[in-house]
C-alpha cells in the first residue's frame, strides 16, 4: 500500500519519518510490528492505554460475587453501580472531544488517565454501596480515552489506513512520544456555523434511527460486560475464576468481530451499495437479538457458553456495521477532523476513494456524547457520530435500568427480554432511505437524485459562495460507490471540458 511520495524528495527541509507519509505527515501505511516514532509508537501507546482503561472499568463485575457479600450490596445497588459505570463516560466523552480539539489527544488522554487513576486505587478503600457506586462512576470516566485514541489515530494515519488503525486500536482497547505539534493539520478550517450544523444533524432522522440501533448493539455489549460473570456464577454454580474467564471470552471476540463487521460492510457495499450495508446491518443485529433470546432460555452450561460466544460475534459485528453507514448520513455534521469512532473497525476502508484531506475522514468519527448537552458541544467531532455513540451509552443505561436493576426480573428473563428489545429497536432501520441510493425496501428515487443533491442540501447559498461545501462535494463524488455495481456508472457529461487536465 505504499504510495511513492515525490514531494518528500523534492523538499529536503521536510522532517524525516520512519514511515512513508502524505502531505499532512500522516502515515500512509500501517505496520503493526514496529514502534517507529511517532506513528506506530503512538498507535501502540494509545491502544495499550485504552485497553487499561477498559480493564479498570470492567474489573469489578467478575468479582461481584465476592464484592456483593463484602460490601453487603443488594441487587439494586449492583444495578445502580453498573449504570453509573457506563453513564460516567457519556459526559466524559463530551469533554474529551473538546479537549482533544483544544489541547491535542496526548495531553487530553494523559490528563484523563492520571486524573481517573486515583479512583481505581481507591477501590480498596470502598466500604459501602455508595462508595462503590461513586468509584465505578469515576472509573468509568476513563472510557473517554476511546475518543482520544480514535482522534490520535485519525491524526496519524491517512484515509486508506485510518480504518485499520482505528479498528485495531479500538478493538484491542475494547480488549507518545508522538509530537502532535509536528502533525498539525494543514488545510483550511473555516468556522462552521454551529446552530446550522446542529440543525442539520438533529433534523436528519437517519442519525436518530442509527443512535437507537447502536444503543441496542453497543449498549447491549456494555450491559453484558456488567452482568454476565454474575449470571454464570449464580445460575450454573461455576467457581469465580471460571465465571471470570467465560465473561472475558465475551469481550475477547472484539479483537476480530468488530473490525470484521466493518470490513463486511465494505465488501457488501461493493456489490450492493448502501442498500447492502443496511440489509447486512439489519440481518446481523436481528440474528444477534435472536441469539440473546436463546441465551436467556438455555439451561445448561456448555450450550450457554456456545450461545454466548455466537451472540458476542454477531452483536459486535453489528457495532462495526453501524459505523459503515454513519459516515454517509451527513457531511456537514461530520466534523473537520479524521476522527475515530467506537472501535468500528474496517467499516472505514470505504475510504478507498477519498483523498487524505480533512473531509475525507471516512470512518473515524468521535463518539462524543449523549443527546441534550452533548449535541451542542460535539460539533467539531461529528454530531452524527456523537449521537450514534451517545445512543450506545444511553442504550446501556436504559437496558440496565429496565431489566437488570433490583429483583424485578431474574437475570435470565432480563437477558431474553433484552433480546426481544434488540429486535424491536432494530426494526426502525427499514425506515432509513437515501434518495440517491434507496433504502431497505425501496430503490433509489426515480427522479434521479444524486449524491451531490443529498449532501449539498445541507449548505445554503452564502456558504456555497464561500466554497465551504467543497469537502462535501468531494465526498459526494467519492461516495458514488454506494450505488453498488448493479447500478450503471454515474452519468458523466461528455461534451464539457474536463475539469482536471
Amino acid at each position: 500500500m505504499e504510495k511513492p511520495d515525490h514531494t518528500e524528495e523534492a523538499n529536503p527541509d521536510r522532517p524525516k519519518f520512519a514511515l512513508p507519509v502524505d502531505s499532512e505527515h500522516k502515515a500512509t501505511v500501517f505496520r503493526l510490528f514496529t514502534a517507529a516514532q511517532p506513528h506506530m509508537r503512538a498507535f501502540h501507546l494509545s491502544w495499550i492505554s485504552f485497553f487499561c482503561c477498559f480493564v479498570s472499568t470492567f474489573a469489578a463485575p467478575p468479582l461481584l460475587p465476592i464484592i456483593r457479600d463484602n460490601l453487603n450490596l443488594t441487587a439494586t445497588d449492583i444495578g445502580n453501580a453498573g449504570i453509573a459505570s457506563v453513564s460516567g463516560a457519556v459526559f466524559a466523552r463530551v469533554a474529551m472531544g473538546t479537549a482533544c480539539d483544544l489541547f491535542g489527544p496526548r495531553l487530553a488522554s494523559a490528563s484523563l488517565i492520571l486524573l481517573t487513576s486515583p479512583a481505581v486505587y481507591c477501590f480498596s478503600v470502598a466500604n459501602s454501596a455508595t462508595s462503590f457506586l461513586l468509584l465505578r462512576f469515576f472509573t468509568g470516566f476513563s472510557l473517554a480515552t476511546f475518543v482520544s485514541t480514535q482522534f490520535w489515530m485519525s491524526s496519524m494515519f491517512s484515509a486508506p489506513v485510518v480504518g485499520t488503525a482505528n479498528g485495531v486500536s479500538g478493538g484491542w482497547g475494547n480488549l507518545g512520544g508522538g509530537n502532535f505539534s509536528q502533525l498539525k493539520k494543514s488545510g483550511d478550517k473555516h468556522k462552521e456555523n454551529l446552530p446550522q450544523v446542529v440543525r442539520h444533524a438533529v433534523t436528519n432522522y437517519r442519525g436518530w434511527i442509527l443512535a437507537l440501533t447502536y444503543g441496542y448493539c453497543f449498549g447491549v455489549e456494555l450491559t453484558i460486560d456488567n452482568i454476565i460473570a454474575q449470571y454464570f456464577y449464580d445460575r450454573f454454580n461455576v467457581n469465580l475464576h471460571t465465571a471470570g474467564i467465560i465473561a472475558a471470552s465475551f469481550g475477547l471476540a472484539n479483537i476480530f468481530s468488530r473490525p470484521a463487521g466493518g470490513i463486511l460492510s465494505d465488501i457488501v457495499a461493493k456489490k450492493f451499495g448502501m442498500r447492502g450495508r443496511l440489509w447486512t446491518l439489519w440481518v446481523v443485529q436481528t440474528v444477534g437479538g435472536l441469539l440473546c433470546i436463546v441465551l436467556g432460555r438455555v439451561g445448561s452450561l456448555g450450550a450457554s457458553i456456545a450461545v454466548m460466544v455466537m451472540f458476542s460475534v454477531f452483536v459486535q459485528a453489528a457495532c462495526g456495521l453501524t459505523f459503515g453507514v454513519v459516515p454517509f448520513v451527513s457531511r456537514s455534521a461530520h466534523g473537520n477532523n479524521d476522527n475515530g469512532d467506537e472501535g468500528s473497525g474496517g467499516g472505514n476502508s470505504n475510504s478507498d476513494g477519498n483523498d487524505g484531506d480533512g473531509g475525507g475522514g471516512s470512518s473515524g468519527m468521535m463518539a462524543a456524547s449523549s443527546i441534550v448537552v452533548v449535541v451542542a458541544m460535539a460539533w467539531s467531532l461529528g454530531i452524527i457520530s456523537g449521537m450514534t455513540g451517545g445512543g450506545g451509552n444511553v442504550g446501556a443505561v436504559l437496558t440496565q435500568v429496565i431489566f437488570f436493576r433490583g429483583s424485578r426480573y431474574k437475570t435470565e428473563t432480563g437477558i431474553t427480554l433484552m433480546g426481544i428489545m434488540m429486535i424491536c429497536c432494530t426494526l426502525p432501520m427499514v425506515l432509513i432511505y437515501f434518495p440517491q441510493w434507496g433504502g431497505m425496501f425501496c430503490g433509489p428515487s426515480s427522479k434521479g437524485a444524486t449524491e451531490e443533491d443529498y449532501y449539498m442540501s445541507e449548505w445554503n447559498l452564502a456558504e456555497k459562495e464561500k466554497s465551504f461545501h467543497q469537502a462535501s462535494l468531494k465526498f459526494a463524488d467519492n461516495s458514488r460507490s454506494e450505488r453498488g455495481t448493479r447500478v450503471g456508472s454515474a452519468p458523466t457529461p461528455t461534451d464539457e471540458t474536463p475539469i482536471h487536465v
Binding site: P65, R68, D69, N70, N72, T74, A75, T76, L107, A110, S111, L114, L115, S117, P118, Y121, C122, S124, V125, N127, Q230, D234, V294, R297, V298, G299, S300, G302, A303, S304, A306, V307, G406, S407, K410, T411
Partner: protein, 206 residues
C-alpha cells in the same frame, strides 16, 4: 460438512432446552425430626474470625420409631434469615434443595446416632458476610440426599435470629498505599505539564 456442523449445533441447542437432569428433594417434603439449639441469643452480634457459637442437636424422640432409620450423617449449616435475602437473588430460598441457596456455610458434619446429644463449638470463619442468620441441621441418608432437618428458628424464620459481622477487609497499609499512588498520579501530571511549559518556553527562546 457444513450441514453436519449445523446438525450438531442445532441438536446441542435443542437438548439444552431440557431442564437439568437431576431434580432434588424438596424442602417441604422433609420432616422436622431434629431438635437444634444454638448459643447466640436473639439479636446477638458475633464477630467473624473471633467469636464462637455452640450448636447442640438431637433426635426428637416424639416421632414414631424407625423414622430415623435412614439417617447416616448430619450436617449443620449457617443459613440466611429472610431479611438478609431481600433483593438478593443469590441467597434465594427455593423448595428444590438442589437449587436452594439459603444455607451456604457448613458448620460441622457429624455421623448420626439416635440416642446421643451432639454439641459442637465453632469459631465463626473470616469469610462469613455481614447478615442475619439462623442455624439448620440436615440429616442425610447413605446416598447423600436430605432426609430430615431441624433448625433453631420457627417455620417462618422469624424467631431466634442473630447477626454476624464480617471482617472489614480494610487495612491501614492499603489505605496508605492508595493515598500514595493517587498523590503520585496527580503530582506526575502536574510535573508533566510543567515540563511541557518549560520545553515550550525554551523552544521559543531559541
Amino acid at each position: 460438512m457444513a450441514f453436519g456442523c449445523f446438525l450438531v449445533a442445532s441438536s446441542l441447542l435443542l437438548l439444552s432446552f431440557f431442564p437439568e437432569a437431576c431434580y432434588g428433594v424438596t424442602f417441604s417434603s422433609l420432616q422436622r425430626t431434629l431438635l437444634v439449639t444454638a448459643s447466640p441469643t436473639t439479636g446477638q452480634v458475633l464477630k467473624a474470625g473471633q467469636d464462637q457459637l455452640t450448636v447442640t442437636w438431637s433426635y426428637d424422640q416424639t416421632f414414631p420409631a424407625g423414622t430415623d432409620s435412614s439417617y447416616k450423617t448430619v450436617t449443620v449449616k449457617l443459613c440466611y434469615a429472610p431479611i438478609s435475602q431481600v433483593d438478593r437473588a443469590w441467597r434465594k430460598t427455593v423448595d428444590n434443595l438442589m437449587k436452594d441457596k439459603t444455607c451456604q456455610f457448613k458448620v460441622v458434619v457429624q455421623p448420626y446416632s439416635p440416642s446421643s446429644n451432639f454439641s459442637t463449638t465453632w469459631t465463626v470463619e473470616k469469610d462469613i458476610p455481614t447478615a442475619i442468620y439462623f442455624v439448620r441441621a440436615y440429616a442425610y441418608d447413605s446416598n447423600g440426599v436430605e432426609a430430615a432437618y431441624g433448625q433453631t428458628t420457627d417455620a417462618h424464620k422469624t424467631t431466634n435470629l442473630f447477626e454476624i459481622q464480617a471482617i472489614t477487609g480494610r487495612h491501614a497499609s492499603l489505605d496508605i498505599a492508595s493515598a500514595c499512588f493517587s498523590a503520585f498520579s496527580i503530582v506526575s501530571l502536574i510535573g508533566f505539564f510543567y515540563m511541557e511549559k518549560r520545553k515550550a518556553k525554551l523552544s521559543q527562546q531559541t
